[in-house]
């Protein structure tokens, strides 16, 4: 059970990559899918490594990421 | 309530306070200085806010803010100051914010002088700022009207959610005449649109930006519709000895006082002369001119000829429109107007 989890509103993502760069554990990556705005939204490539540290969400200009942490 | 001898500017300020004006944002400029100083002296102790802004540009934007909160708010200035306020006035008209804007005109252009003038007519009634908008423009011709029209301006502003301008001049502002203040209760108007803090309701927004042409066009047509409704119910003027007149003088403000004396002098010499005095400069009173089609008209102004254009439009070629003016702060005298009247009626001199 990973310590944390990220929920991504894929339609709002603008593929700016700031979250990918901010994640210390390489959890996120740009997906192959395309959203309605024509961007490849971000996705959790290695969700099990997520600790719920919220660094990705802090750097997201469009508040696309909600973060949960195991209580 | 007894009459009080008061300066025009101060009577105007007193009337505003009695009308429920609770915020005044101003800036020094002659010849309206008594308005802000009267407000600074009296508004705070009567539950209002007075602030001298860093410029007329800031002052009109402070008015925008307070008006957006639904507060009765006023600013005053003189000609050059109004030029600086034009952008803000366009915003206020576009956002449909009620407020009162006073212009105690001085002679221009440029820095001009500090004596009276009427050269801001076009700026006031045709929209000196950008885009299509209208202000209700009221022109007092006495200290009593400085008070009465200002008092009423606040009700008109709230009734129509539109800025109202008092277009006076330095002479009306500086002279003293007896004045009685209205005992009427100010109109109480609900303002659910105001930005007072979204407590228990959805947020309100005061905004004039709309980059979608279809919806901005709808907003413009809605404004146009409002303006035509205002024209139907708020147009006002005064006629003096016009029933049998062969020659109709047309003038507002100080020029109307002079014209009225000239009418009396002409009547004393058996000449049938009358005066049409627009009180609302916008909406412009065309009806009295249409009713006298075929007559002669003489427009008296302290400008190069601005009101005269609207008179020509109203006369619509049905009669000759003559013009007499003084400039640079010079005020026409009844005698010189009488000479012009005689030229027209007796001398057969054409326009």
């Amino acid at each position: 059970m990973p310590k944390g989890r990220v929920l991504i509103e894929v339609e709002r993502c603008k593929e700016c990559r700031l979250c990918v760069n901010a994640c210390p554990f390489g959890v996120l990556r740009i997906s192959e899918r395309i959203n309605s705005r024509g961007f490849h939204p971000v996705e959790a490539a290695v969700p099990e490594k997520c600790t719920g540290c919220t660094l990705c969400a802090i750097m997201c200009p469009d508040v696309v990421i909600t973060v949960e942490r195991a209580s | 309530m007894a009459k009080v001898l008061m300066k025009g500017n101060e009577a105007l300020a007193e009337a505003a306070i009695r009308a429920g004006c609770r915020a005044f944002y101003g800036y020094p400029i002659t010849p309206q200085n008594e308005v802000p100083s009267y407000m600074a002296q009296n508004l705070p102790e009567r539950g209002g806010v007075y602030l001298q802004a860093e410029s007329e540009v800031s002052a009109i934007n402070m008015v925008y803010g307070a008006a957006g909160c639904g507060v009765r708010v006023m600013t005053s200035s003189s000609s050059p100051g109004l030029s600086l306020k034009m952008e803000g006035i366009s915003y206020i008209a576009a956002a449909e914010l009620p407020c009162v804007i006073v212009n105690v005109m001085r002679c221009g252009p440029g820095l001009g002088g500090i004596h009276p003038g009427q050269g801001d007519y076009f700026q006031a009634v045709k929209g000196g700022g950008h885009g299509d908008y209208r202000l209700i423009v009221l022109a007092p011709a006495s200290v009593q009207e400085m008070a009465d029209l200002t008092f009423e301006a606040f009700d008109l502003a709230d009734k129509w959610r539109n800025p109202v301008m008092i277009l006076a001049d330095g002479l009306l502002g500086q002279m003293m005449e007896p004045v009685k203040f209205s005992q009427k209760e100010p109109l109480a108007v609900e303002k659910p649109w105001a930005t007072t803090g979204a407590r228990g309701r959805r947020p309100n927004t005061v905004n004039t930006l709309d980059i979608v042409p279809e919806s901005l066009e709808r907003r413009n047509y809605a404004l146009a519709d409002k303006y035509s409704r205002i024209a139907q119910s708020e147009t006002r003027w005064q006629e003096y000895k016009t029933e049998d007149a062969d020659l109709l003088l047309a003038a507002y403000g100080t020029s109307a006082r002079v014209a009225r004396s000239a009418v009396d002098m002409a009547r004393a010499e058996g000449l049938k002369v009358g005066l049409i005095r627009p009180i609302s400069l916008w909406p412009f009173p065309s009806e009295p001119f249409e009713r006298h089609h075929g007559k002669e008209f003489l427009v008296v102004e302290m400008s190069m000829g601005q009101l005269v254009e609207d008179v020509r439009l109203a006369v619509n070629g049905q009669g000759t429109v003559h013009f007499h003016n003084r400039l640079g702060g010079m005020v026409p005298t009844p005698r010189e107007v009488l000479v012009k009247i005689k030229d027209i009626l007796l001398g057969g001199e054409g326009q």
Binding site: L18, N21, M59, V63 | L51, E54, Y64, A67, T196
Partner: protein, 253 residues
């Protein structure tokens, strides 16, 4: 799992129009979080300026007014004076605040106007496609300084925080940045403190937030953050330039 990060209530659900990676979006969130944390959403009245953030009235979930270019501090003054118990803030870019609106911001600060100003310094005019701003750095290329900003032609970039900190009416002035999570968190604390300053009636509060404009700088979002760290921060040092609360504490010690 417990939610530890979500969209603040004081941000509407409207998707923001900003370019990918534009830190305006981050700063909007920080302002909204401050308003949420202090529980003042229902008494907040924001004033949007003219620039990329002109649409802020669509993004903040509180009463908003949209002001003419440069005039937000005057509009905010007009509001605060008639509704002194509301929380009034402006959100302005560097063209709006430090160029056309310089008189307004200086006098609002000099008056000690009890408002909160969120000042976004991205060293360029963004909305109008990349012209020089008062904060454009020397040598920085823009559409109106094609050879790079020069002292001879354009003079020196203005350090607004230091400028306003000389005014006694200023109660709290801090400059922060958004180039990495640590600094974004610090910016959030500063913005909250600026709102707190207003709540305590201390007077004028302004937070200058260094921000990116990747499209007009011609960089990727990440390159822009790094360029800001390496070029803007040295010229615009971060830190607290005025804090009347601390001065008061010092006075008591």
């Amino acid at each position: 799992m417990k939610q530890v990060f979500q969209r603040p209530e004081s941000l509407t659900d409207v998707q923001m129009h900003y370019c990918p990676g534009c830190t305006h979006g981050i700063i909007h969130r920080l302002v909204a979080e401050a308003i949420d944390d202090l529980g003042v959403r229902e008494s907040a009245i924001g004033v949007a300026s003219v620039g990329c953030s002109v649409f802020a009235y669509d993004y903040f979930n509180c009463d908003m007014q949209q002001a003419a270019h440069g005039r937000a501090p005057a509009v905010a003054t007009g509001i605060k004076r008639v509704l002194p118990d509301r929380i009034v803030f402006t959100y302005q870019g560097d063209g709006d605040l430090a160029s056309i609106g310089m008189a307004e911001i200086v006098h609002a600060a000099a008056r000690g106007e009890n408002i909160t100003v969120v000042f976004i310094n991205n060293a360029i005019y963004g909305m109008t496609s990349g012209q020089m701003a008062p904060t454009t750095l020397l040598g920085q290329k823009t559409t109106t300084t094609p050879q790079g900003r020069s002292i001879e032609a354009n003079g020196y970039p203005i350090r607004v925080s230091e400028l306003l900190a000389t005014l006694d009416g200023a109660a709290y002035i801090e400059r922060v940045s958004t180039h990495d999570p640590k600094h974004v968190r610090q910016a959030g604390r500063a913005i909250k403190k600026a709102f707190q300053t207003q709540l305590e009636g201390r007077g004028f509060a302004l937070v200058e937030v260094l921000s990116t404009c990747s499209v007009n700088w011609g960089m990727t979002p990440q390159e822009a953050l790094d360029w800001m760290r390496d070029n803007m921060v040295p010229y615009y040092p971060l830190g607290v330039y005025k804090d009347s609360a601390r001065k008061e504490e010092a006075a008591h010690d």
